[in-house]
């Protein structure tokens, strides 16, 4: 066996760094080749522990490959292919590189065997994904990106604090299952860090805030990686943690309630990520083998259908420039195929028989019933009603049918998207249907394949139950459609606290602090300035004769350096940040690569 174990994240990072050097005519080939190589690398990985690096006093494990990390690695690298294909026509290299670094971060977390490695890639995810928001280049995207980063940095600090405390208590950096029945402060802090990335209320508001502001293809990536990587981390660290069950159920319903109010289709989808991740979080909390299987299966299916839904709505945004229901409608005449793909995504998320959600979501619901937590089962079924109501009915209806609110300009722009966007949606649609029809494909990959093999989603009762639930939801939708008419509003969420909190801080900075500053200035002028003037006059005489000569020479030198510095520093803060991250990432990669290759 070769000693060199190539981390799939390395391929992505190198691929992204080399992207600007690839000639224009080979660019599209490169964009498809790199994710494909990553997928093949993940697919061909043997189980075991690899990439162990001794660095200072630490042992870093980059490659823990077991059935849990393998299934998440598989779906993440598969999504990277689809997402890159979807944005293939985007000319800006940096957008592709940001997306790839983001995926690399996610793969790094998934295969990490210790907390230090996990944290490194965890932060790489946050700092690279924010560019997918900023690249939309609206003033709103800039602000949303900063808020996103702020929240994630706060979550990262909680995680780091938890890790360090955990290390102090146990002397180990290994990332293994915690003692969930006797959680210490360290465990709670790590949990908070994970829950923030999983968007568990009240730590969720960053998600709709940022994902609705992302670029048309950036949000496809965003929808897949951050939350599901957190689900992986929860599956690994916290199976059977009781509190996750009620949190998950609350999440599932919270997302549904906000989706009723939402007018922006991508914000609506973002709220449904929260709702769907709620199922997974509840599954982790239940902690039985079936429930963990369910959480993994649902994450797998969810990444595909949610990506598909974001691709459908992203195509509408890309082609029309609009994402609000009150600016759209009647588009089936212009974009019929995007409608079909989005509908397939909608039917998959709603768990219609023959679509992917049906074979994954039901595992978690069944696990709830089997644990005799009836309220979990029934409330999750209620959340399913809401899922179909919005994603299966409201989104397709108010974009492609319903009252036509399109301005003439929107209507004229609307058309089927470029071939590569369609191709990506076809691939995702086909996978959604394939998973729904041929269950062994997904079930064999699950952490407990034997348990999964005994689960039969197509039992007559389950099919009957699901069809009744969903079709009668449709009846309710069409009867109450007047009440659902979208309104051009935004909904307050927990981000209100930090958005308004920031404003209060600014007000303080502007008003009281400035007032104090003025007072101090006044006192200073009266008491300080007059004596100062006298002494200044004396000093002036000294200055004139002695110091000027020396200073003039110095000033000329400083001006020269300053001019050169200004040349480097000009440009926007984001460009500087991008440069800093790129340099840091490059250094990290070179460093690790050198270690991997030569340390042994």
């Amino acid at each position: 066996m070769s000693n060199l174990w190539i981390h799939p994240a390395l391929i992505l990072i190198f691929g992204g760094l080399l992207l600007p050097a690839v000639p224009a005519r080979l660019k599209k080939g490169w964009l498809l080749l790199v994710p494909l190589l990553v997928f093949l690398r993940v697919f061909s990985m043997a189980k075991g522990v690899f990439g162990v690096v001794h660095f200072l006093d630490w042992t870093l494990t980059f490659g823990r490959v077991d059935s849990l990390s393998a299934i998440f690695g598989y779906i993440m690298s598969l999504t990277c292919i689809i997402g890159t294909l979807y944005g293939l026509h985007v000319k800006e290299d940096a957008q592709h590189a940001a997306a790839w670094f983001y995926v690399a971060g996610s793969l790094g977390v998934i295969f990490a065997g210790d907390f230090l490695t996990l944290f490194l890639f965890w932060e790489l995810m946050a700092f690279s994904s924010v560019f997918l928001v900023w690249f939309r280049r609206r003033p709103e995207s800039l602000a949303a990106g900063y808020r996103y980063l702020l929240v994630h940095v706060a979550g990262g600090v909680a995680l780091l604090a938890g890790m360090v405390l955990h290390h102090q208590a146990t002397g180990s950096w290994d990332f293994v299952t915690f003692d969930v029945h006797h959680p210490t402060l360290a465990v709670w802090l790590v949990l908070i860090g994970f829950l923030l990335n999983a968007a568990v209320p009240p730590l969720h508001a960053w998600l709709p805030d940022a994902y609705a502001e992302g670029t048309f293809n950036g949000s496809v990536f965003l929808s897949a990686f951050t939350t599901k990587t957190a689900v992986y981390a929860l599956c690994r660290g916290f199976p059977g943690m009781e509190i996750l069950v009620p949190l998950g159920v609350i999440m599932a319903l919270y997302g549904v309630v906000y989706a009723v109010l939402e007018n922006d289709c991508r914000r609506l989808l973002a709220y449904h990520i929260i709702s769907q991740v709620g199922y997974m979080v509840a599954g982790v909390g239940l902690g039985t083998q079936m429930a963990i299987n369910g959480a993994c299966a649902h994450a797998f299916a969810h990444i595909l259908y949610k990506g598909l839904l974001f691709m459908g709505c992203g195509a509408v945004l890309h082609m029309t420039g609009q994402s609000k229901f009150t600016e759209l409608g009647g588009l089936y005449k212009k974009m019929p195929w995007v409608f079909v793909f989005t509908l397939i995504g909608g039917l998959s998320i709603s768990a219609f028989p023959l679509f992917s959600g049906f074979v994954s979501k039901s595992m978690i619901v069944s696990a709830g019933f089997e644990e005799h937590k009836l309220w979990v089962g029934f409330l999750l079924m209620l959340a399913s009603v809401g899922t179909f109501l919005h994603t299966g009915l409201k989104v397709p209806y108010f974009i492609w049918f319903g009252k036509n609110h399109c301005k003439q300009e929107t209507w004229d722009r609307a058309a089927e998207p470029p071939w590569n966007m369609n191709a990506a949606m076809i691939v995702a649609s086909a996978l959604c249907i394939f998973i729904g029809c041929y269950t062994p494909y997904l079930y064999r990959m699950l952490p407990y394949p034997d348990v999964a093999g005994e689960f039969h989603p197509y039992a007559s009762y389950h099919v009957s139950e699901t069809l009744q639930l969903l079709l009668f939801t449709a009846v309710g939708f069409f009867l109450l459609i007047k009440k659902l008419t979208p309104e051009p509003t935004i909904s307050l969420d927990t981000d209100w606290f930090y958005r308004m909190g920031g404003r209060i801080f600014l007000w303080f900075a502007k008003k009281p602090i400035q007032f104090v500053d003025t007072c101090v200035g006044e006192v200073y002028r009266v008491l300080g300035l007059i004596p100062l003037m006298i002494s200044a006059r004396l000093a002036g005489k000294f200055d004139d004769r002695v110091i000027d000569g020396a200073v003039d020479g110095l000033a000329a030198a400083v001006r020269g350096i300053g001019g050169r510095l200004r040349f480097v520093q000009r440009g926007q803060m984001q460009e500087n940040l991008a440069l800093a991250f790129a340099v840091a990432a490059a250094l990290m990669v070179i460093f690790l690569f050198a270690y991997n290759a030569f340390a042994r």
Partner: protein, 86 residues
């Protein structure tokens, strides 16, 4: 553009489509009542043995979600789009 024609074809006959759908819904609930076809051995609670229980759950759940959410939204959660603008 065959797909658009198909959608238009169905839209022109909306009444018939709706009728067919209602017949299908009725058939669905009737089938649920036949134990030979729908084996409820795996049901966890007694209410699930009531034929059409999940149909009622779906319909009522949908109505409650819409009405309660909108009520909640109009309590002051839904704001004008420029709410956060300075």
């Amino acid at each position: 553009m065959k797909l658009v024609q198909l959608i238009d074809f169905l839209r022109d006959r909306l009444k018939t489509v709706v009728r067919v759908c209602f017949v299908l819904l009725a058939v669905l609930v009737l089938l649920d009542a036949i134990p030979a076809l729908v084996d409820k051995e795996h049901a966890h609670t007694w209410v699930e043995h009531v034929p059409g229980f999940w149909a009622v759950w779906g319909f009522v759940g949908c109505a409650i979600l819409i009405i309660l959410s909108k009520w909640f939204g109009h309590l002051g959660i839904m704001k004008r789009e420029d709410y956060y603008d300075e």
